[in-house]
Amino acid sequence: MVSRNIAITMIFILLGLIVSMQFKSINYKQKLLEPKIAQANKLKEELFSEKDNNKELMQQCIKLERENLENEKQRSNINQTTKVLSESLETFRKVAGLTDVVGSGVIIEVDHRDGVMVKEKDLLTLVNVLNMAGAEAVAINDERIISRSEIRNVAENTFIVINGKRMTVPFEVKAIVDAKKLEELIGVYSETNQLLKIKASEDIFIPKYMNSVEKLISNVEVIEDEVE
């Protein structure tokens, strides 16, 4: 009889201990998470406000671009000289990669496969092969590749930076190019090959280069032709 009472008492004590441990641990958990949750919330707020900022800036840039386009049309209509010069301007702008273009070509998806990671050399090689096939415009994840575009690994291959913009797999490489010519050449590059999925299309849209242009011409002086 006594032993049973002792047993019951011990079970109750144990129960009490465990209940109090449970309460303590809930408290402790909350204390640990509180600063982290607070920090995460603060970061989320900053992130949203920065994204909003960017959206707003983007809209303003688009508006200014449209205005400038109008101004340019008006300017070209001033007289015959401005008309001819403006046409020339448009051509140079197109060649420089500063206009949106469409044409027939390919969409190539590049991704890590079978444990092999996509590196900057793979994208460099791919753009090179596209150029061998006569590509006239190339974009990677909507970043137009122009004469000044870099393709760089950062953060131990996790990110690749193109035109100063960070991006990661999968990479969508669009190109306006003769798809048949490309097919003939791409087989040679079996190293890059395993990372690729190619799809031909009649209607590839390739956006213009979006960054600032002034910094692309610093330190450079044009040598004027002797004969104008």
């Binding site: 400038n68 140079f92 206009t99 692309l216």
Partner: protein
């Protein structure tokens, strides 16, 4: 009496069991949640950095567009000013597309193949050649671009967006033209900056030298880089996009 007591004991035991299980679960949960929160924090910080960078770039772009806009206003009614502005813009785009001869400060990087001759006893010397590879030239160009080189040429072939570099017997095809070693790579930009990025630890020059290739680098105050030949530029597949 005995039955009630037994029921009481049974209930307590069940409660005990439940408490023990809960305690065990809460320990697991705590660890999972804190690691999840940690990863989310890192991702958030990364995403914030990306947005901030985008913001900086957008601000620069915005200023530039505003400036362009102002130019139109300032030239209102002045035909000559307008013509001058168009010509200025043409010059800008000529440079970017590689269609103008240019000059400025920069660097000249020269890479050459190496022939190694190993004399063998009682037999003919063993010769072999270490040659520059296509991929190495691509990497050099990439590094130069990342260091803000605004014009680049290899053996006087202007490197533009559509330039290909194809390794062939005894050289490379660049812009449809064959060139051979030594490869003289000229780049316009800040000579210090260009030299530093090319020669940094584990950088491009070190990589080339580790393959025994001959590499030399010089800075210069005036380098001339020719424009790309007309045939290099192709645009017949491109059609203007209507948004």
């Amino acid at each position: 009496m005995k039955l009630n007591k037994n029921i009481a004991i049974a209930v307590v035991c069940v409660l005990l069991g439940i408490m023990l299980a809960l305690q065990y679960k809460s320990i697991n949960y705590k660890e999972e949640v804190s690691s999840y929160e940690h990863k989310t924090l890192e991702e958030l910080k990364d995403n914030l950095l990306i947005e901030k960078r985008k913001n900086e770039e957008l601000m620069v772009r915005y200023d530039e567009l505003q400036n362009e806009n102002r130019q139109y206003e300032l030239a209102q009614g002045d035909i000559d000013k307008n013509i001058e502005n168009i010509k200025k813009d043409i010059t800008k785009y000529e440079i970017i597309s590689g269609l103008a001869d240019v000059k400025g400060k920069g660097i000249i990087l020269t890479i050459d193949n190496v022939e190694i001759r190993m004399p063998l006893e009682g037999e003919e010397d063993y010769n072999f050649k270490i040659e520059v590879q296509e991929r190495e030239l691509l990497e050099v160009i990439n590094e130069l671009r990342a260091s803000d080189a605004n014009a680049i040429s290899i053996n006087d072939e202007r490197i533009v967006a559509t330039t290909e570099i194809a390794e062939v017997d005894d050289g490379m095809i660049i812009n449809g033209v064959k060139v051979s070693a030594p490869y003289e790579i000229k780049a316009l930009g800040d000579p210090e900056k260009l030299e530093n990025s090319l020669t940094m630890l584990n950088g491009v020059v070190e990589g080339l030298q580790s393959y025994q290739l001959e590499v030399s680098l010089e800075k210069s105050d005036e380098i001339i880089i020719p424009k790309a030949r007309g045939s290099v530029i192709r645009t017949n597949l491109l059609k203007p996009a209507n948004k």
